[in-house]
Protein backbone atom coordinates (compact mmCIF):
# COMPACT_ATOMS: atom_id res chain seq x y z
CA UNK A 1 0.00 0.00 0.00
CA UNK A 2 1.49 3.34 -0.97
CA UNK A 3 1.70 5.89 1.79
CA UNK A 4 0.05 9.20 0.92
CA UNK A 5 1.49 10.75 4.09
CA UNK A 6 5.09 10.16 3.06
CA UNK A 7 6.60 13.38 1.71
CA UNK A 8 9.04 13.59 -1.15
CA UNK A 9 12.21 15.50 -0.41
CA UNK A 10 12.66 18.82 -2.18
CA UNK A 11 15.32 21.50 -2.04
CA UNK A 12 14.88 25.25 -2.03
CA UNK A 13 16.35 26.61 -5.27
CA UNK A 14 15.56 30.27 -4.82
CA UNK A 15 14.20 32.60 -2.15
CA UNK A 16 12.57 35.82 -3.34
CA UNK A 17 11.04 38.22 -0.82
CA UNK A 18 7.72 39.60 -2.12
CA UNK A 19 6.71 41.93 0.70
CA UNK A 20 7.66 42.53 4.32
CA UNK A 21 5.90 39.29 5.33
CA UNK A 22 5.65 37.19 2.17
CA UNK A 23 8.28 35.26 0.23
CA UNK A 24 8.30 33.11 -2.87
CA UNK A 25 10.26 29.88 -2.48
CA UNK A 26 11.20 28.03 -5.65
CA UNK A 27 11.42 24.29 -4.96
CA UNK A 28 12.73 21.30 -6.86
CA UNK A 29 12.20 17.66 -5.95
CA UNK A 30 15.56 16.00 -5.26
CA UNK A 31 14.80 12.71 -7.01
CA UNK A 32 14.88 13.14 -10.83
CA UNK A 33 12.19 10.48 -11.33
CA UNK A 34 9.85 12.08 -8.81
CA UNK A 35 10.61 15.46 -10.36
CA UNK A 36 9.49 14.24 -13.76
CA UNK A 37 6.36 12.66 -12.34
CA UNK A 38 5.36 15.82 -10.49
CA UNK A 39 2.77 17.21 -12.92
CA UNK A 40 0.19 19.67 -11.68
CA UNK A 41 -2.49 22.06 -12.85
CA UNK A 42 -3.23 25.62 -11.70
CA UNK A 43 -5.28 25.61 -8.51
CA UNK A 44 -3.68 22.53 -6.99
CA UNK A 45 -1.75 22.66 -3.73
CA UNK A 46 0.91 20.75 -1.83
CA UNK A 47 1.43 19.83 1.80
CA UNK A 48 4.80 21.26 2.73
CA UNK A 49 6.86 19.81 5.58
CA UNK A 50 9.45 21.76 7.45
CA UNK A 51 10.54 18.77 9.48
CA UNK A 52 10.37 19.48 13.16
CA UNK A 53 8.05 22.45 12.74
CA UNK A 54 5.29 20.54 10.98
CA UNK A 55 3.32 20.42 7.78
CA UNK A 56 0.88 22.87 6.19
CA UNK A 57 -0.91 23.28 2.86
CA UNK A 58 0.20 25.85 0.27
CA UNK A 59 -1.13 26.52 -3.19
CA UNK A 60 1.36 26.14 -5.99
CA UNK A 61 1.84 29.69 -7.21
CA UNK A 62 3.58 29.10 -10.53
CA UNK A 63 2.62 27.56 -13.83
CA UNK A 64 4.17 24.14 -14.36
CA UNK A 65 4.72 24.84 -18.03
CA UNK A 66 8.27 24.21 -19.24
CA UNK A 67 9.97 23.96 -15.88
CA UNK A 68 10.77 21.27 -13.35
CA UNK A 69 10.64 23.59 -10.36
CA UNK A 70 7.59 25.17 -8.73
CA UNK A 71 6.93 28.19 -6.58
CA UNK A 72 5.25 28.41 -3.22
CA UNK A 73 4.48 31.94 -2.13
CA UNK A 74 4.12 32.04 1.61
CA UNK A 75 3.12 34.53 4.25
CA UNK A 76 5.11 34.32 7.49
CA UNK A 77 2.26 33.77 9.88
CA UNK A 78 2.74 30.67 12.03
CA UNK A 79 5.03 27.87 13.16
CA UNK A 80 5.65 26.20 9.80
CA UNK A 81 5.92 29.42 7.80
CA UNK A 82 8.21 30.99 10.41
CA UNK A 83 10.51 27.96 10.19
CA UNK A 84 10.39 28.04 6.38
CA UNK A 85 11.41 31.69 6.38
CA UNK A 86 14.46 30.72 8.41
CA UNK A 87 15.59 28.42 5.59
CA UNK A 88 17.74 29.50 2.69
CA UNK A 89 18.69 28.17 -0.72
CA UNK A 90 19.66 24.50 -0.54
CA UNK A 91 17.45 23.87 2.48
CA UNK A 92 15.51 20.60 2.36
CA UNK A 93 11.78 20.31 2.89
CA UNK A 94 9.11 17.67 2.32
CA UNK A 95 6.40 17.87 -0.31
CA UNK A 96 3.20 15.85 -0.71
CA UNK A 97 1.10 16.41 -3.76
CA UNK A 98 -0.01 17.83 -6.02
CA UNK A 99 -3.33 17.67 -4.16
CA UNK A 100 -6.88 18.81 -4.83
CA UNK A 101 -8.72 19.77 -7.98
CA UNK A 102 -7.80 22.57 -10.35
CA UNK A 103 -9.19 25.61 -12.14
CA UNK A 104 -11.22 24.95 -15.27
CA UNK A 105 -9.14 25.71 -18.36
CA UNK A 106 -10.40 23.90 -21.45
CA UNK A 107 -13.93 24.44 -20.12
CA UNK A 108 -13.57 28.23 -20.29
CA UNK A 109 -11.95 28.36 -23.71
CA UNK A 110 -13.23 31.22 -25.87
CA UNK A 111 -14.45 33.22 -22.89
CA UNK A 112 -13.48 36.57 -21.47
CA UNK A 113 -11.33 35.72 -18.48
CA UNK A 114 -11.51 37.97 -15.43
CA UNK A 115 -9.25 37.51 -12.42
CA UNK A 116 -10.04 39.32 -9.19
CA UNK A 117 -7.42 38.96 -6.49
CA UNK A 118 -7.08 40.44 -3.04
CA UNK A 119 -3.83 40.47 -1.07
CA UNK A 120 -2.15 37.08 -1.04
CA UNK A 121 -5.19 35.72 -2.88
CA UNK A 122 -3.13 36.41 -5.97
CA UNK A 123 -0.89 33.43 -5.09
CA UNK A 124 -3.26 30.67 -6.28
CA UNK A 125 -4.46 32.75 -9.25
CA UNK A 126 -0.96 33.33 -10.63
CA UNK A 127 -0.44 29.92 -12.31
CA UNK A 128 -3.82 30.24 -14.01
CA UNK A 129 -3.02 33.80 -15.11
CA UNK A 130 0.30 32.61 -16.53
CA UNK A 131 -1.24 29.65 -18.35
CA UNK A 132 -4.16 31.64 -19.73
CA UNK A 133 -1.80 34.37 -20.92
CA UNK A 134 0.55 31.88 -22.57
CA UNK A 135 -2.36 30.51 -24.54
CA UNK A 136 -4.15 33.84 -24.92
CA UNK A 137 -5.26 33.01 -28.47
CA UNK A 138 -7.68 30.52 -26.96
CA UNK A 139 -9.49 33.19 -24.90
CA UNK A 140 -11.49 36.28 -25.84
CA UNK A 141 -9.71 38.58 -23.39
CA UNK A 142 -7.76 38.57 -20.14
CA UNK A 143 -8.32 41.04 -17.31
CA UNK A 144 -6.54 41.02 -13.96
CA UNK A 145 -7.90 43.19 -11.13
CA UNK A 146 -5.74 43.14 -8.06
CA UNK A 147 -5.99 44.98 -4.79
CA UNK A 148 -4.11 44.94 -1.52
CA UNK A 149 -4.41 46.74 1.77
CA UNK A 150 -1.49 49.08 1.07
CA UNK A 151 1.11 49.43 -1.67
CA UNK A 152 3.53 47.53 0.58
CA UNK A 153 1.18 44.54 0.49
CA UNK A 154 1.17 44.14 -3.30
CA UNK A 155 2.86 40.87 -4.22
CA UNK A 156 4.67 39.97 -7.47
CA UNK A 157 5.56 43.65 -8.14
CA UNK A 158 7.79 42.90 -11.17
CA UNK A 159 5.23 40.66 -12.73
CA UNK A 160 2.39 43.14 -12.10
CA UNK A 161 4.35 45.73 -14.08
CA UNK A 162 4.78 43.28 -16.94
CA UNK A 163 1.09 42.40 -16.87
CA UNK A 164 0.19 46.10 -17.02
CA UNK A 165 2.39 46.65 -20.05
CA UNK A 166 2.08 43.54 -22.11
CA UNK A 167 -0.25 43.21 -25.07
CA UNK A 168 -3.34 41.08 -24.75
CA UNK A 169 -3.95 41.65 -21.07
CA UNK A 170 -5.56 44.36 -18.97
CA UNK A 171 -4.24 44.67 -15.44
CA UNK A 172 -5.51 47.22 -12.93
CA UNK A 173 -4.26 47.69 -9.39
CA UNK A 174 -5.73 49.32 -6.32
CA UNK A 175 -4.93 49.71 -2.64
CA UNK A 176 -7.41 50.06 0.20
CA UNK A 177 -5.35 52.75 1.85
CA UNK A 178 -3.38 55.23 -0.26
CA UNK A 179 -0.08 56.68 0.80
CA UNK A 180 2.51 59.14 -0.41
CA UNK A 181 4.08 57.87 -3.61
CA UNK A 182 1.04 55.85 -4.65
CA UNK A 183 -0.57 57.43 -7.70
CA UNK A 184 -2.84 54.53 -8.63
CA UNK A 185 -6.38 53.65 -7.64
CA UNK A 186 -7.50 53.76 -4.04
CA UNK A 187 -10.43 51.62 -2.89
CA UNK A 188 -11.33 47.98 -2.44
CA UNK A 189 -10.74 45.70 -5.41
CA UNK A 190 -14.45 45.56 -6.24
CA UNK A 191 -14.33 49.22 -7.28
CA UNK A 192 -12.11 48.23 -10.21
CA UNK A 193 -14.99 46.29 -11.72
CA UNK A 194 -16.54 49.61 -12.76
CA UNK A 195 -13.38 50.58 -14.64
CA UNK A 196 -13.36 47.70 -17.11
CA UNK A 197 -15.65 46.71 -19.94
CA UNK A 198 -16.78 43.13 -19.47
CA UNK A 199 -18.97 41.10 -21.81
CA UNK A 200 -20.65 39.44 -18.83
CA UNK A 201 -22.64 36.68 -20.60
CA UNK A 202 -19.42 35.40 -22.17
CA UNK A 203 -17.14 35.88 -19.19
CA UNK A 204 -15.88 33.79 -16.32
CA UNK A 205 -14.40 35.24 -13.13
CA UNK A 206 -11.68 33.66 -11.00
CA UNK A 207 -11.75 35.18 -7.52
CA UNK A 208 -9.46 34.71 -4.54
CA UNK A 209 -8.72 36.77 -1.48
CA UNK A 210 -9.63 37.11 2.18
CA UNK A 211 -13.12 35.79 3.08
CA UNK A 212 -14.70 39.24 3.33
CA UNK A 213 -13.25 40.28 -0.04
CA UNK A 214 -14.58 37.12 -1.68
CA UNK A 215 -18.01 37.79 -0.22
CA UNK A 216 -18.21 41.36 -1.54
CA UNK A 217 -16.69 40.63 -4.94
CA UNK A 218 -19.07 37.70 -5.44
CA UNK A 219 -21.96 40.04 -4.59
CA UNK A 220 -20.65 42.63 -7.07
CA UNK A 221 -20.21 40.02 -9.80
CA UNK A 222 -23.67 38.57 -9.20
CA UNK A 223 -25.07 42.11 -9.43
CA UNK A 224 -23.35 42.55 -12.78
CA UNK A 225 -25.08 39.42 -14.04
CA UNK A 226 -22.38 36.78 -13.64
CA UNK A 227 -24.00 33.38 -13.32
CA UNK A 228 -23.24 31.13 -10.36
CA UNK A 229 -21.25 28.79 -12.59
CA UNK A 230 -19.25 31.69 -14.02
CA UNK A 231 -17.76 32.66 -10.65
CA UNK A 232 -14.92 30.37 -9.62
CA UNK A 233 -13.00 30.66 -6.41
CA UNK A 234 -10.44 28.71 -4.46
CA UNK A 235 -10.90 28.24 -0.73
CA UNK A 236 -8.44 27.72 2.05
CA UNK A 237 -8.99 25.97 5.33
CA UNK A 238 -6.92 24.62 8.14
CA UNK A 239 -5.79 21.20 6.89
CA UNK A 240 -3.73 18.34 8.20
CA UNK A 241 -3.88 15.42 5.82
CA UNK A 242 -4.82 16.98 2.47
CA UNK A 243 -6.55 13.74 1.41
CA UNK A 244 -9.95 13.82 3.11
CA UNK A 245 -9.13 11.90 6.28
CA UNK A 246 -8.45 14.34 9.11
CA UNK A 247 -11.64 16.36 8.39
CA UNK A 248 -10.23 19.72 9.45
CA UNK A 249 -11.06 21.44 6.16
CA UNK A 250 -14.63 20.19 5.96
CA UNK A 251 -17.30 22.67 4.93
CA UNK A 252 -20.74 21.08 5.07
CA UNK A 253 -20.48 17.91 3.02
CA UNK A 254 -17.27 18.87 1.22
CA UNK A 255 -13.60 18.57 1.97
CA UNK A 256 -11.76 21.62 0.70
CA UNK A 257 -8.66 19.44 0.23
CA UNK A 258 -10.21 16.68 -1.83
CA UNK A 259 -13.42 18.06 -3.33
CA UNK A 260 -11.77 21.48 -3.79
CA UNK A 261 -9.98 23.76 -3.26
CA UNK A 262 -11.58 25.16 -6.43
CA UNK A 263 -15.34 25.64 -6.25
CA UNK A 264 -17.88 27.51 -8.32
CA UNK A 265 -20.16 29.96 -6.55
CA UNK A 266 -23.00 27.50 -7.18
CA UNK A 267 -21.11 24.76 -5.34
CA UNK A 268 -20.31 27.14 -2.50
CA UNK A 269 -23.96 28.13 -2.12
CA UNK A 270 -24.93 24.47 -1.92
CA UNK A 271 -22.66 23.95 1.08
CA UNK A 272 -24.86 23.94 4.16
CA UNK A 273 -22.27 25.88 6.15
CA UNK A 274 -21.91 28.61 3.55
CA UNK A 275 -22.85 32.09 4.80
CA UNK A 276 -23.90 34.60 2.17
Amino acid sequence: MSNPYLPKIASIQKVKPETYDTTTFTLQLDDPTERKAFQYRPGQFVELSVFGAGEAPFCISSSGHGRDTFDLSVRKVGRVTDALHEMGEGGQVGVRGPLGNSFPFEEVEGKHILFVGGGIGLFPLRPQIQDVYRERDRFASITVLYGARTAEDLVYRDELEEWQQQEGMTCLLTVDVGAEGWTGNVGVVGTLLQKVEIDVPNAVAFVCGPPIMIRFVVQDLSGMGFGEEAIVTTLERHMRCGIGKCNHCMIGDKWVCKDGPVFTYRQMKAMTEFEE
Binding site: L6, P211, E236, K245, C246, E273
Partner: protein
Amino acid sequence: MTARMLPHERIDEFVARLMQSAEVVAPRRVEVADVFYGPVSSPGEVAWDYGTAIEPLKRFLLPQRETMLRFSTDGGLKVEAECDERERVFLGVRCCDVTGLGVMDAMYGGDIPDPYYMSRRERSTVIALTCLEAPEETCFCVCCDAGPFLTEGYDQQWTSLPEGMLVEIGSERGEALARANEDLLAPAELDQIAARYRLAREAEKTFGDFKSYIAGAMAKLSMNEVDPEVWEQAAMRCTECGGCTYLCPTCSCFTVTDRMNGSEGVRERHWDACLNNCYAREASGHNPRPERSDRLRARFFHKISHQWAERNGRQACVGCGRCVVGCMAWAHMPAVTEGIRRGVMT
Protein backbone atom coordinates in the same frame (compact mmCIF):
# COMPACT_ATOMS: atom_id res chain seq x y z
CA MET B 1 -21.23 -20.52 4.11
CA THR B 2 -23.39 -22.28 6.62
CA ALA B 3 -23.80 -21.49 10.29
CA ARG B 4 -22.08 -23.71 12.87
CA MET B 5 -22.47 -24.48 16.54
CA LEU B 6 -19.60 -24.06 18.97
CA PRO B 7 -20.44 -25.92 22.19
CA HIS B 8 -19.85 -23.83 25.31
CA GLU B 9 -17.24 -26.22 26.64
CA ARG B 10 -15.14 -25.80 23.49
CA ILE B 11 -15.11 -21.98 23.42
CA ASP B 12 -11.92 -21.71 25.46
CA GLU B 13 -10.15 -24.11 23.13
CA PHE B 14 -11.32 -22.05 20.13
CA VAL B 15 -10.03 -18.85 21.74
CA ALA B 16 -6.74 -20.52 22.66
CA ARG B 17 -6.25 -21.46 19.02
CA LEU B 18 -6.98 -17.88 17.94
CA MET B 19 -4.33 -16.69 20.37
CA GLN B 20 -1.66 -18.89 18.77
CA SER B 21 -1.54 -16.83 15.59
CA ALA B 22 -2.97 -13.44 16.50
CA GLU B 23 -3.46 -10.92 19.21
CA VAL B 24 -6.96 -11.51 20.55
CA VAL B 25 -8.72 -8.32 21.60
CA ALA B 26 -11.85 -9.03 23.62
CA PRO B 27 -13.99 -7.54 26.39
CA ARG B 28 -12.12 -7.73 29.69
CA ARG B 29 -13.25 -6.80 33.17
CA VAL B 30 -10.66 -4.24 34.20
CA GLU B 31 -12.18 -2.97 37.41
CA VAL B 32 -15.14 -4.39 39.30
CA ALA B 33 -17.70 -3.47 36.68
CA ASP B 34 -15.68 -1.66 34.01
CA VAL B 35 -15.25 -3.61 30.80
CA PHE B 36 -12.76 -2.50 28.16
CA TYR B 37 -11.74 -4.18 24.93
CA GLY B 38 -8.13 -5.25 25.29
CA PRO B 39 -5.66 -8.02 24.45
CA VAL B 40 -6.33 -11.13 26.51
CA SER B 41 -3.59 -13.40 27.80
CA SER B 42 -5.85 -16.40 28.40
CA PRO B 43 -9.29 -17.51 27.18
CA GLY B 44 -10.67 -17.21 30.70
CA GLU B 45 -10.18 -13.45 30.61
CA VAL B 46 -12.92 -12.89 28.05
CA ALA B 47 -15.97 -11.32 29.73
CA TRP B 48 -18.74 -13.05 27.77
CA ASP B 49 -21.51 -11.69 29.99
CA TYR B 50 -20.64 -8.02 29.64
CA GLY B 51 -22.97 -5.17 28.71
CA THR B 52 -20.98 -2.72 26.63
CA ALA B 53 -17.33 -1.77 26.71
CA ILE B 54 -16.48 1.65 28.08
CA GLU B 55 -14.63 2.55 24.87
CA PRO B 56 -15.23 1.42 21.30
CA LEU B 57 -12.67 -0.56 19.31
CA LYS B 58 -11.29 2.37 17.39
CA ARG B 59 -8.07 2.85 19.36
CA PHE B 60 -6.85 -0.54 18.11
CA LEU B 61 -7.11 0.67 14.53
CA LEU B 62 -6.62 4.39 15.06
CA PRO B 63 -4.54 4.79 18.22
CA GLN B 64 -5.07 7.97 20.21
CA ARG B 65 -1.47 8.83 19.36
CA GLU B 66 0.60 7.12 16.71
CA THR B 67 3.85 7.63 14.88
CA MET B 68 3.39 8.24 11.16
CA LEU B 69 6.94 9.05 10.13
CA ARG B 70 10.44 9.07 11.52
CA PHE B 71 12.88 11.56 10.12
CA SER B 72 16.45 12.61 10.59
CA THR B 73 17.82 15.99 9.59
CA ASP B 74 21.45 14.96 10.06
CA GLY B 75 23.53 14.74 6.87
CA GLY B 76 20.66 15.04 4.37
CA LEU B 77 17.05 14.62 5.22
CA LYS B 78 15.78 11.04 5.59
CA VAL B 79 12.13 10.17 6.08
CA GLU B 80 10.64 6.76 6.84
CA ALA B 81 7.14 5.54 7.47
CA GLU B 82 6.15 2.58 9.58
CA CYS B 83 2.98 0.52 9.71
CA ASP B 84 1.62 -1.86 12.34
CA GLU B 85 1.40 -5.34 10.81
CA ARG B 86 0.06 -7.35 13.76
CA GLU B 87 -2.62 -9.96 13.11
CA ARG B 88 -5.60 -9.31 15.37
CA VAL B 89 -8.87 -10.98 16.21
CA PHE B 90 -11.52 -8.73 17.67
CA LEU B 91 -13.58 -11.21 19.65
CA GLY B 92 -16.94 -10.76 21.34
CA VAL B 93 -17.47 -7.29 19.90
CA ARG B 94 -20.90 -5.69 20.31
CA CYS B 95 -22.85 -5.16 17.11
CA CYS B 96 -22.81 -1.35 17.46
CA ASP B 97 -19.03 -1.38 17.54
CA VAL B 98 -18.82 -3.71 14.55
CA THR B 99 -21.07 -1.30 12.65
CA GLY B 100 -18.83 1.57 13.77
CA LEU B 101 -15.88 -0.20 12.20
CA GLY B 102 -17.76 -0.22 8.91
CA VAL B 103 -18.11 3.56 9.04
CA MET B 104 -14.42 3.93 9.89
CA ASP B 105 -13.60 1.64 6.96
CA ALA B 106 -15.47 3.97 4.61
CA MET B 107 -13.64 6.98 5.98
CA TYR B 108 -10.16 5.47 6.08
CA GLY B 109 -10.47 3.35 2.96
CA GLY B 110 -11.90 4.80 -0.21
CA ASP B 111 -9.92 6.00 -3.18
CA ILE B 112 -6.96 7.12 -1.04
CA PRO B 113 -6.59 4.42 1.63
CA ASP B 114 -4.97 5.41 4.91
CA PRO B 115 -2.08 2.92 5.16
CA TYR B 116 -1.87 2.96 8.97
CA TYR B 117 -5.54 2.20 9.52
CA MET B 118 -5.88 -0.17 6.59
CA SER B 119 -2.79 -2.25 7.37
CA ARG B 120 -4.32 -3.00 10.76
CA ARG B 121 -7.82 -3.45 9.41
CA GLU B 122 -6.80 -5.86 6.68
CA ARG B 123 -5.11 -8.02 9.32
CA SER B 124 -8.17 -8.03 11.56
CA THR B 125 -10.82 -10.67 12.04
CA VAL B 126 -14.06 -9.47 13.59
CA ILE B 127 -16.20 -11.82 15.65
CA ALA B 128 -19.38 -10.05 16.75
CA LEU B 129 -21.36 -11.03 19.83
CA THR B 130 -25.10 -10.38 19.63
CA CYS B 131 -27.07 -8.74 22.45
CA LEU B 132 -29.90 -10.93 23.75
CA GLU B 133 -31.28 -7.92 25.61
CA ALA B 134 -30.43 -4.23 25.77
CA PRO B 135 -27.14 -4.29 27.64
CA GLU B 136 -27.53 -0.79 29.06
CA GLU B 137 -30.44 1.61 29.42
CA THR B 138 -28.47 4.06 27.25
CA CYS B 139 -28.35 1.72 24.24
CA PHE B 140 -30.26 2.77 21.12
CA CYS B 141 -28.73 0.71 18.30
CA VAL B 142 -32.29 -0.23 17.29
CA CYS B 143 -32.75 3.39 16.14
CA CYS B 144 -29.58 3.21 14.06
CA ASP B 145 -29.75 -0.12 12.23
CA ALA B 146 -26.69 -1.24 14.16
CA GLY B 147 -27.92 -4.01 16.46
CA PRO B 148 -28.77 -5.87 18.60
CA PHE B 149 -28.06 -8.48 15.85
CA LEU B 150 -26.29 -7.81 12.57
CA THR B 151 -26.88 -8.97 9.04
CA GLU B 152 -23.51 -7.80 7.69
CA GLY B 153 -20.18 -6.27 8.59
CA TYR B 154 -18.73 -9.16 10.60
CA ASP B 155 -16.51 -12.12 9.75
CA GLN B 156 -18.38 -14.27 12.27
CA GLN B 157 -21.35 -13.40 14.45
CA TRP B 158 -21.82 -15.39 17.63
CA THR B 159 -25.12 -15.76 19.47
CA SER B 160 -25.24 -17.50 22.82
CA LEU B 161 -27.81 -20.31 22.78
CA PRO B 162 -28.35 -22.80 25.63
CA GLU B 163 -26.29 -25.48 23.88
CA GLY B 164 -23.46 -23.24 22.68
CA MET B 165 -22.54 -20.35 20.42
CA LEU B 166 -24.35 -20.14 17.11
CA VAL B 167 -21.60 -19.10 14.70
CA GLU B 168 -22.87 -17.19 11.67
CA ILE B 169 -20.43 -16.65 8.83
CA GLY B 170 -20.26 -13.21 7.22
CA SER B 171 -17.17 -13.34 5.04
CA GLU B 172 -14.59 -15.55 3.37
CA ARG B 173 -12.30 -14.84 6.27
CA GLY B 174 -14.95 -15.96 8.74
CA GLU B 175 -15.54 -19.14 6.74
CA ALA B 176 -11.82 -19.90 6.58
CA LEU B 177 -11.58 -19.53 10.34
CA ALA B 178 -14.48 -21.95 10.81
CA ARG B 179 -12.94 -24.46 8.39
CA ALA B 180 -9.63 -24.34 10.22
CA ASN B 181 -11.43 -25.25 13.44
CA GLU B 182 -14.05 -27.59 12.07
CA ASP B 183 -13.17 -30.22 14.70
CA LEU B 184 -14.56 -27.91 17.39
CA LEU B 185 -17.70 -27.02 15.45
CA ALA B 186 -20.87 -28.79 14.42
CA PRO B 187 -23.28 -27.76 11.67
CA ALA B 188 -26.09 -25.63 13.11
CA GLU B 189 -29.55 -27.18 13.20
CA LEU B 190 -32.50 -25.36 11.61
CA ASP B 191 -34.22 -24.86 14.95
CA GLN B 192 -31.04 -23.24 16.28
CA ILE B 193 -31.05 -20.77 13.40
CA ALA B 194 -34.76 -20.17 14.02
CA ALA B 195 -33.96 -19.52 17.67
CA ARG B 196 -31.49 -16.83 16.63
CA TYR B 197 -34.20 -14.94 14.75
CA ARG B 198 -36.66 -15.32 17.63
CA LEU B 199 -34.03 -14.06 20.07
CA ALA B 200 -33.28 -11.07 17.83
CA ARG B 201 -36.96 -10.05 17.80
CA GLU B 202 -37.21 -10.46 21.55
CA ALA B 203 -34.01 -8.52 22.13
CA GLU B 204 -35.30 -5.58 20.11
CA LYS B 205 -38.27 -5.26 22.46
CA THR B 206 -36.00 -4.69 25.44
CA PHE B 207 -34.67 -1.39 24.07
CA GLY B 208 -36.50 1.86 24.37
CA ASP B 209 -35.53 4.13 27.25
CA PHE B 210 -33.34 6.19 24.96
CA LYS B 211 -34.67 6.78 21.50
CA SER B 212 -32.85 8.73 18.87
CA TYR B 213 -34.95 10.19 16.10
CA ILE B 214 -32.22 9.84 13.55
CA ALA B 215 -34.41 9.85 10.45
CA GLY B 216 -36.30 13.01 11.36
CA ALA B 217 -33.13 14.80 12.42
CA MET B 218 -31.38 13.63 9.28
CA ALA B 219 -34.05 15.14 7.05
CA LYS B 220 -33.90 18.53 8.77
CA LEU B 221 -30.11 18.61 8.95
CA SER B 222 -29.69 17.60 5.34
CA MET B 223 -32.09 20.28 4.12
CA ASN B 224 -30.50 22.91 6.38
CA GLU B 225 -33.82 23.38 8.16
CA VAL B 226 -32.75 23.03 11.77
CA ASP B 227 -33.87 25.97 13.90
CA PRO B 228 -30.61 27.81 14.74
CA GLU B 229 -31.95 28.17 18.27
CA VAL B 230 -31.38 24.43 18.76
CA TRP B 231 -27.64 24.88 18.22
CA GLU B 232 -27.59 27.91 20.51
CA GLN B 233 -29.29 25.91 23.23
CA ALA B 234 -27.00 22.92 22.77
CA ALA B 235 -24.01 25.27 22.82
CA MET B 236 -25.14 26.70 26.17
CA ARG B 237 -24.86 23.21 27.64
CA CYS B 238 -21.86 21.78 25.85
CA THR B 239 -18.60 22.35 27.72
CA GLU B 240 -16.48 21.46 24.70
CA CYS B 241 -14.81 18.66 26.66
CA GLY B 242 -14.60 16.49 23.54
CA GLY B 243 -15.67 13.40 25.48
CA CYS B 244 -18.38 12.47 22.98
CA THR B 245 -15.89 12.52 20.13
CA TYR B 246 -13.29 10.40 21.93
CA LEU B 247 -15.91 7.84 23.00
CA CYS B 248 -17.70 7.73 19.64
CA PRO B 249 -16.98 4.60 17.54
CA THR B 250 -17.04 6.69 14.35
CA CYS B 251 -15.41 9.99 15.33
CA SER B 252 -12.12 9.82 13.51
CA CYS B 253 -10.69 13.33 13.15
CA PHE B 254 -7.00 13.66 13.83
CA THR B 255 -4.36 16.32 14.04
CA VAL B 256 -0.69 15.97 13.18
CA THR B 257 2.34 17.27 14.99
CA ASP B 258 6.13 16.96 14.72
CA ARG B 259 8.32 16.22 17.75
CA MET B 260 12.08 16.61 17.69
CA ASN B 261 14.93 15.33 19.80
CA GLY B 262 18.16 16.78 18.42
CA SER B 263 18.32 15.85 14.75
CA GLU B 264 15.87 12.96 15.12
CA GLY B 265 12.17 13.55 14.91
CA VAL B 266 8.80 11.90 14.61
CA ARG B 267 5.58 12.97 12.98
CA GLU B 268 2.65 11.84 15.09
CA ARG B 269 -1.06 12.00 14.74
CA HIS B 270 -3.44 12.43 17.61
CA TRP B 271 -7.19 12.22 17.95
CA ASP B 272 -8.76 15.61 17.55
CA ALA B 273 -12.27 16.88 18.26
CA CYS B 274 -14.25 19.14 15.95
CA LEU B 275 -15.89 20.75 18.99
CA ASN B 276 -12.61 22.31 20.06
CA ASN B 277 -12.46 26.03 19.40
CA CYS B 278 -9.09 25.75 17.65
CA TYR B 279 -10.13 22.86 15.41
CA ALA B 280 -10.64 24.87 12.22
CA ARG B 281 -8.75 28.00 13.23
CA GLU B 282 -6.21 29.01 10.63
CA ALA B 283 -2.68 30.31 11.13
CA SER B 284 -3.89 33.82 10.31
CA GLY B 285 -6.25 33.66 13.30
CA HIS B 286 -9.33 33.43 11.10
CA ASN B 287 -11.77 30.87 12.51
CA PRO B 288 -14.49 29.68 10.13
CA ARG B 289 -16.46 28.27 13.09
CA PRO B 290 -15.92 30.80 15.86
CA GLU B 291 -19.05 29.87 17.85
CA ARG B 292 -19.59 26.60 19.67
CA SER B 293 -23.01 26.42 18.02
CA ASP B 294 -21.26 26.42 14.62
CA ARG B 295 -19.10 23.52 15.71
CA LEU B 296 -21.98 21.52 17.15
CA ARG B 297 -23.90 21.95 13.92
CA ALA B 298 -20.89 20.80 11.91
CA ARG B 299 -20.42 17.74 14.13
CA PHE B 300 -24.00 16.56 13.92
CA PHE B 301 -24.09 17.31 10.20
CA HIS B 302 -21.09 15.05 9.71
CA LYS B 303 -22.64 12.35 11.89
CA ILE B 304 -26.14 12.05 10.52
CA SER B 305 -26.75 14.18 7.43
CA HIS B 306 -27.98 12.46 4.32
CA GLN B 307 -25.02 13.97 2.45
CA TRP B 308 -22.43 12.25 4.64
CA ALA B 309 -24.48 9.07 4.95
CA GLU B 310 -24.25 8.84 1.19
CA ARG B 311 -20.48 9.32 1.22
CA ASN B 312 -19.90 6.83 4.05
CA GLY B 313 -22.48 4.23 3.09
CA ARG B 314 -24.63 4.89 6.16
CA GLN B 315 -25.13 7.54 8.83
CA ALA B 316 -22.36 7.59 11.39
CA CYS B 317 -24.31 7.05 14.64
CA VAL B 318 -24.48 3.41 15.74
CA GLY B 319 -26.49 3.93 18.92
CA CYS B 320 -23.84 2.65 21.33
CA GLY B 321 -24.95 5.22 23.89
CA ARG B 322 -21.45 6.20 24.96
CA CYS B 323 -22.10 9.88 24.33
CA VAL B 324 -25.14 9.60 26.61
CA VAL B 325 -22.96 8.18 29.36
CA GLY B 326 -20.06 10.52 28.71
CA CYS B 327 -21.83 13.84 28.19
CA MET B 328 -22.19 15.73 31.43
CA ALA B 329 -24.20 18.44 29.69
CA TRP B 330 -27.04 16.47 28.07
CA ALA B 331 -25.97 17.47 24.57
CA HIS B 332 -25.58 13.90 23.33
CA MET B 333 -27.00 12.27 20.20
CA PRO B 334 -30.50 11.36 21.49
CA ALA B 335 -30.90 14.78 23.16
CA VAL B 336 -29.81 16.69 20.08
CA THR B 337 -31.80 14.62 17.59
CA GLU B 338 -34.88 15.14 19.74
CA GLY B 339 -34.05 18.84 19.92
CA ILE B 340 -33.77 18.98 16.14
CA ARG B 341 -37.13 17.24 15.77
CA ARG B 342 -38.95 19.47 18.27
CA GLY B 343 -37.11 22.67 17.37
CA VAL B 344 -36.07 23.10 20.99
CA MET B 345 -33.66 21.32 23.33
CA THR B 346 -35.56 19.75 26.20
